[in-house]
């Protein structure tokens, strides 16, 4: 038991078998049992990505002998005074599908798992081809860190720029530059330094928080897991493994309390709880929260888990909340701290990555799923990111793999945070109602309209019952003016479930 919350929890716990408390979950990194680090490797087709991952798995003894036996070994030519190292053909190990092995290419995202005595790792292994931007975006969505691979002979390429841009757009704040194939440039420090300089310029333009660089020969194993100082005495930094062993997991501050309701649990008349995973902040016993939509206010009366009740639970915890009064709450509703409401409105702007061959076409209606809520949405493409020079150009549709800014228009009130504030409540997918395919991944930038935008001198304030206000807002009369309507709940904690507008 690690934290100060423990005693308090014990006191509150009613279950006899409880010795668990969510509040005790230490977040410290790089010690045994810390949360797994999720990373993505990106690089162009010939940068040696498979060799790098293979080397990482091989040298951490994560490849089992029966798997290794099924691989042909390729021999590496001898260097002066160095015995030839025989290592397996790693791509065969990594490419799991028949078609991939036949065509010698990686088609899809695959996840690799390995661990060292210090921590566990989940590696999203994605294809390097340009046309697979969508796979990279998929891998990035859950990654804490991106390893960007560059061939020492070619330096930063357009593809490197593209990958770094996608990674930062998807919210990754730690980049590790691996300058690979150092053996092919005579292990020269000047080559490494020059690429590192270029990459720092790139990282600055993308405002990445943490950037590190490592000179590596994945084929020969220098600076991946084992020390490479024999060949590169000028480099005294950590190996790749040391770097990722000590990297922090995505430690976005816990943020403001967010709880998207997954389901209502009513096993019998005496119990009514709301099940879900805390998407931000902390849930405390007695804390006041607001229910969206509706604006009803209630307090947390019980935080229930299988292992007993908790005094406090934090972001990431899957719990069941019981409230102190009867409130109308259903799946898809969002519970937030009353003091920090979400962005609410009918129109939002978002970044999206087009994932489907059909692209994203103007004026189409899609399903939008965000957290646990699914809404109808009409979208308008505004601009597309040109990955060659990082500029946004006007566009009215996106083809597959395109990155763009779109406007989301809802037929009912929607609730989000910006993606920068909360990756859970600020992200969504778009689903084509005809094919049911996931056609885009989106990140909310901001709410459009609302306070400040319309000319205040041309506005009139009305206070209406919620029901009537909703009818009005959903009507055709309001349809073309939603951007100009300001809705504001009149706080009324005495009548939960009711609000005025």
């Amino acid at each position: 038991m690690l934290s100060e919350h423990h005693d308090a929890h014990q006191a509150a716990s009613s279950a006899a078998n409880s010795n668990l408390s969510a509040s005790d979950r230490a977040e410290s990194t790089s010690k045994p049992g810390s949360k797994a680090l999720r990373l993505i490797t990106c690089g162009s087709v010939d940068d040696g990505k498979s060799t790098l991952i293979g080397r990482l798995l091989w040298d951490t003894k994560s490849v089992s002998s029966d798997h290794a036996e099924s691989l042909a070994t390729s021999s590496v030519s001898d260097e002066e005074g160095e015995a030839g190292t025989h290592i397996p053909e790693f791509a065969l190990l990594l490419d799991g599908l028949q078609a991939e092995r036949e065509q010698g290419i990686t088609i899809d995202v695959a996840y690799r798992y390995f661990s060292t005595p210090r921590r566990s790792f989940i590696v999203a292994d994605t294809p390097g081809h340009e046309q697979y931007t969508r796979n990279m975006a998929t891998g990035c969505s859950t990654a804490d860190l991106a390893v960007v691979l560059v061939d020492a002979r070619t330096g930063i390429l357009e593809q490197t720029r593209r990958h770094a841009t996608i990674a930062t757009l998807m919210g990754i704040k730690q980049l590790v530059l691996v300058v690979n194939k150092m053996d092919l440039v005579g292990y020269r420090q000047s080559v490494f330094e020059s690429i590192w300089q270029d990459f720092q310029d790139l990282a600055r333009s993308l405002s990445v928080e943490t950037v590190t660089a490592i000179p590596v020969s994945a084929l020969r194993g220098h600076n991946v897991v084992t020390d490479g100082s024999a060949k590169m005495p000028w480099y005294d930094g950590p190996s790749l493994l040391q770097t990722i062993e000590t990297a922090s997991v995505n430690t976005v501050p816990d943020g403001r309390f967010r709880f998207p309701v997954q389901r209502v649990s009513r096993p019998d008349e005496s119990f009514r709880g709301y099940q879900g995973t805390i998407a931000g902040g902390i849930a405390r016993l007695g804390q006041e929260l607001t229910v969206w939509p509706g604006g009803a206010v209630a307090k947390i009366e019980q935080i229930s888990t299988f292992d007993g009740d908790l005094l406090l639970a934090r972001k990431g915890d899957a719990v069941t909340l019981v409230l102190d009064r009867d409130v109308d709450i259903a799946r898809g509703d969002l519970l937030t701290a009353t003091v920090s409401p979400p962005l609410s409105g009918w129109t939002f702007q978002a970044n999206v990555v087009a994932l489907d061959q059909a692209g994203i076409r103007p004026g189409r209606e899609y399903w939008l799923k965000s957290s646990t809520r699914r809404l109808r949405v009409r979208i308008a493409v505004e601009s597309q990111l040109d990955l060659q020079d990082n500029s946004w150009r006007r566009a009215d549709q996106l083809t597959v793999n395109g990155i763009g800014k779109i406007k989301l228009e809802f037929a009912e009130e929607a609730f989000f945070d910006t993606y920068a504030d909360n990756q859970n409540t600020g992200s969504f997918i778009l689903i084509d109602p005809q094919t049911n395919n996931t056609i885009a991944a989106g990140m909310v930038i901001e709410k459009i309209g609302g306070v400040g935008q319309p000319d205040p001198s041309a506005m009139m304030e009305l206070t209406l019952p919620v029901g009537l206000a909703k009818l009005l807002l959903e009507s055709d009369i309001a349809a073309d003016h939603r951007d100009q309507i300001i809705t504001k709940l009149v706080p009324s904690s005495k009548t939960p479930g009711q609000g005025d507008i």
Partner: protein, 309 residues
């Protein structure tokens, strides 16, 4: 029975806690989004963890779906006994299904029907049982670290109306947002343990004191060596070939399936702690003892495309 006591004995470390949270989230999401889910329960260690997580996810309510066991009729006796005890102890709903073709056409894991045995008694049986139940979602305990084609699996894995998996045309899956939209007749296989490794499973079993079939622990057992595998010699249906001899060896099972197709490994690991120590030093993969993976190259991928979980 002491093995079925359920008391967490150890604080979960942050890694296991994160895995548990993710699995519970997936369970709740599927139950909320689908009308008729079912959980595939194969009695093995992964199924034991899966069931434990299901009980946690819906607490204080009951597990809100049926467990489905595809019984080939060739499972280890200990598995069936264990299954029935677990079901009784937790008051669960369980459906056991056996493909009638096994008996009517005498399809066994031996001799000339061996080649079609897995397809008929496992894959075809699963398809039949899912169709009969009209299930639109099926939880499975598959993990991505088990096998190369499973490394490509989604957490919500879409299946056509005839249960086919198209690995080249899967829905992208971002963050923890799952696309559960399907047409009538189609279904989703949901894998809450996708991100768990074999070591994670055992560490969790230890931390939560989850009961598992005793065959996982080393003991002196009568085995016979066949096709490079150590087969348990306890079932009367196992007929020894002329050169075969039963030996008493200290063995355990790393995975559990049909007894004639699941090889034991020599081991002295008699406790969960021993197993974890053994795994940390292991250089052989978990499914190495499973004959069905080695029938042909890309064997698991083929089976999965046909509807195997």
């Amino acid at each position: 029975m002491s093995e079925l006591q359920n008391k967490p004995v150890k604080q979960l470390d942050p890694h296991l806690q994160a895995l548990e949270n993710e699995a519970i989230h997936i369970f709740r999401e599927v139950v909320a989004e689908f009308t008729n889910p079912v959980m595939l329960y194969s009695v093995g260690k992964d199924s034991s963890v899966l069931l434990h997580l299901a009980r946690k996810a819906f607490h204080p309510g009951p597990v809100p779906f049926t467990l489905l066991h595809i019984d080939t009729g060739w499972k280890f006796d200990q598995m069936i006994r264990f299954r029935d005890e677990v079901v009784a102890q937790h008051g669960l709903q369980l459906t056991s299904y056996t493909n009638p073709r096994g008996a009517s056409q005498d399809i066994t894991p031996f001799g000339k029907t061996r080649g079609i045995y897995t397809d008929v008694m496992k894959t075809e049986a699963l398809r039949q049982a899912l169709d009969m139940g009209g299930y639109d979602a099926a939880f499975g305990g598959a993990r991505r670290d088990e096998e190369a084609s499973r490394a490509k699996e989604r957490i919500y894995s879409f299946r056509t109306a005839d249960h086919r998996w198209d690995p080249r045309n899967q829905r992208p899956e971002l963050w923890s947002i799952y696309n559960g939209m399907i047409n009538k007749g189609e279904s989703v296989r949901a894998f809450p343990l996708s991100n768990w490794t074999e070591l994670d499973v055992w560490s969790y079993i230890e931390a939560q004191a989850i009961p598992v079939v005793p065959l996982y622990f080393a003991a002196p057992r009568a085995v016979v060596e066949r096709d490079g595998m150590l087969i348990l010699a306890q079932d009367k249906r196992l007929q020894l070939l002329p050169d075969e001899q039963v030996q008493q060896l200290m063995v355990r099972f790393r995975t559990l399936g049909c007894f004639p197709l699941t090889g034991a490994v020599r081991s002295t690991a008699q406790t969960i702690k021993d197993i974890i120590t053994e795994l940390r030093a292991a250089t052989v993969s978990e499914r190495q003892g499973r004959a069905i993976d080695h029938d042909q190259a890309a064997s698991m991928e083929m089976k999965k495309r046909e509807g195997y979980f």
